[in-house]
């Protein structure tokens, strides 16, 4: 298990070097996006409409932060932590096409993401679940917010991060998934404990 410090724009060749279990800290641009943002991006792409952000080489964080508004109308981050990533599985290929190189979340994703990680050279990272106050220390500032009308959690928050992490490689570009491996082994143990 190696430790890496990476900065955006993330390069495909760097992502392809990572193995499951490696620990990574990311600096630079991180966009939050969850269910509604993915749905909206898909709609805009289908209609050939422009997106509010360039996702090439960026990190996308499955997260809905708690933000507080300053008197001048700008925002400050209170806390931020990962949401359950499997909900975004239907968009695995779209995320690869957008040029996203790092997907951050919790709980892992499924087969479509394994394939998209191989095809487009992006990596899925596990953040420590429920650790929103600690993770917020890795965010320097909120640059801006898009689609706030979808609600605070569902909006796309543009964050500037400094050594955001630790993040564990949960799914790499070589077709490996910690989650799939653990599940396979666990199901075998269940057969031994309580046969079907």
């Amino acid at each position: 298990m190696a430790t890496y410090h990476l900065s955006t724009p993330l390069k495909e060749e760097d992502m392809r070097k990572l193995d499951v279990g490696d620990v990574v800290y990311i600096s630079g641009t991180i966009f939050t996006a969850r269910d509604m943002a993915h749905l909206k991006i898909r709609g805009l792409l289908e209609q050939g409409q422009p997106l509010p952000k360039d996702f090439n080489g960026a990190a996308v964080f499955h997260a809905g932060p708690v933000c507080l508004k300053n008197d001048d109308g700008s925002w400050r981050l209170n806390v931020i932590g990962p949401t359950t990533s499997i909900r975004m599985e239907p968009y695995a290929d779209m995320v690869g096409k957008l040029g996203v190189k790092a997907v951050l979340g919790k709980g892992g994703m499924a087969e479509d993401t394994v394939e998209a990680c191989k095809k487009y050279g992006y990596v899925y990272f596990q953040a420590a679940p429920g650790c929103a106050a600690k993770l917020a220390q890795g965010v320097e500032r909120i640059v801006d917010v898009s689609w706030f009308e979808m609600g605070m959690p569902e909006a796309v928050w543009h964050l500037e991060a400094k050594d955001f992490g630790p993040l564990v490689v949960g799914m790499d570009t070589k077709g490996r998934s910690i989650y799939a491996d653990l599940k396979k082994a666990a199901m075998k143990k269940i057969d031994a404990l309580y046969p079907a």
């Binding site: 708690v66 919790k106 709980g107 596990q126 420590a128 679940p129 929103a132 609600g151 653990l182 309580y194």
Partner: protein, 296 residues
């Protein structure tokens, strides 16, 4: 009318704020135990982050977790002491906690997804009122349960055959373990599992939430058969190797809690309800003579 209205209002308000700013001491103790036993390096790092996060949140007066989850409240009362203003107090406290950044505005319409921004809406806050004749106190428990955990939940209507009644409930045990594996890292492990057994589907669901949200995670079930089942399930789930965060390790499950109710002779409804490690809840008992004590 309860003579201690102002005391009850203040106590309920303070309990809601306490629930969203810290996690239960019993759960924190179990996390510390899990870290002291852990042999997997990634899991050690995850558990260390979780405990650090609690200190950072406390020092900085911030929420422990960005997701406030979904609040459920249990309120039991006796003759003449029902605080019928409880919903109003809870709503005020939710609004205050939202404004201070302890709670992200996260409650939406189930279909339109409209977010009014104040963590309330149709049916929220959800209060389960229970009238117990002769009870000379008011019990108030509020629990904010995260919703990644909900994505792992499962329900099945068993029969005596599918329970494997004749084989020490092996059918039920397999269902619980398979559900835990399918949930994996989704419910923010190390998780707790509430299991409701009995009634019909609705009763089993309520029992499952009550089990994991209103009982201490280190208590011992007064029913010896259920106590044995809870321990066996927890230990065998942990033996599967899923670990904290679901990325491998020795402890994925801090507790299994089973609550039961009688059911019909044809069925055994079972509902499995996950709770993340961030056990934000508080419980208080307010006696009719004005004494207040903490339950959770």
């Amino acid at each position: 009318m309860n003579p201690h209205e102002q005391l009850i209002r203040t106590s309920i308000h303070d309990a809601v704020i306490r629930a969203v700013t810290e996690i239960s001491a019993d759960v924190k103790g179990l996390l510390e135990d899990a870290l002291s036993r852990e042999t997997n390096e990634t899991a050690k790092s995850m558990l260390t982050s979780m405990l650090e996060n609690l200190s950072i949140a406390k020092q900085a007066d911030k929420a422990v977790c960005q997701s406030p989850g979904y609040p459920t409240t249990w309120l039991s009362y006796g003759e003449g002491n029902c605080p019928n203003y409880a919903a109003e107090v809870v709503m005020d406290a939710l609004a205050e906690a939202t404004k201070k950044g302890y709670l992200r505005p996260s409650i939406v319409d189930p279909l339109t997804r409209h977010n009014p921004g104040n963590n309330t809406g149709k049916g929220v806050p959800n209060i389960e009122y229970q009238y117990h004749p002769g009870q000379s106190y008011v019990d108030f428990i509020i629990s904010f349960k995260g919703c990644g955990a909900e994505l792992g939940n499962a329900m099945r209507i068993f029969t005596t055959a599918t329970l494997k009644l004749d084989k020490d409930f092996e059918g039920l045990k397999r269902f619980v373990l398979e559900t835990a594996v399918n949930a994996g890292g989704k419910p923010c492990p190390p998780f707790g599992i509430g299991i409701g057994i009995g009634g019909q589907m609705d009763i089993a669901g309520k029992l499952s939430r009550e089990a994991i949200s209103t009982r201490k995670w280190n208590d011992v079930n007064p029913d010896p058969m259920l106590a044995r089942l809870e321990d066996e399930l927890r230990d065998n789930i942990n033996s599967l190797g899923l670990g904290a965060a679901g990325t491998g390790g020795d402890t994925v499950c801090l507790a299994v809690k089973i609550n039961t109710a009688a059911t019909h002779t044809a069925i055994a409804p079972v509902c499995i309800n996950f709770h993340c490690w961030v056990a934000r809840r508080a419980g208080i008992r307010i006696y009719d003579d004005g004494r207040v004590e903490n339950l959770l």
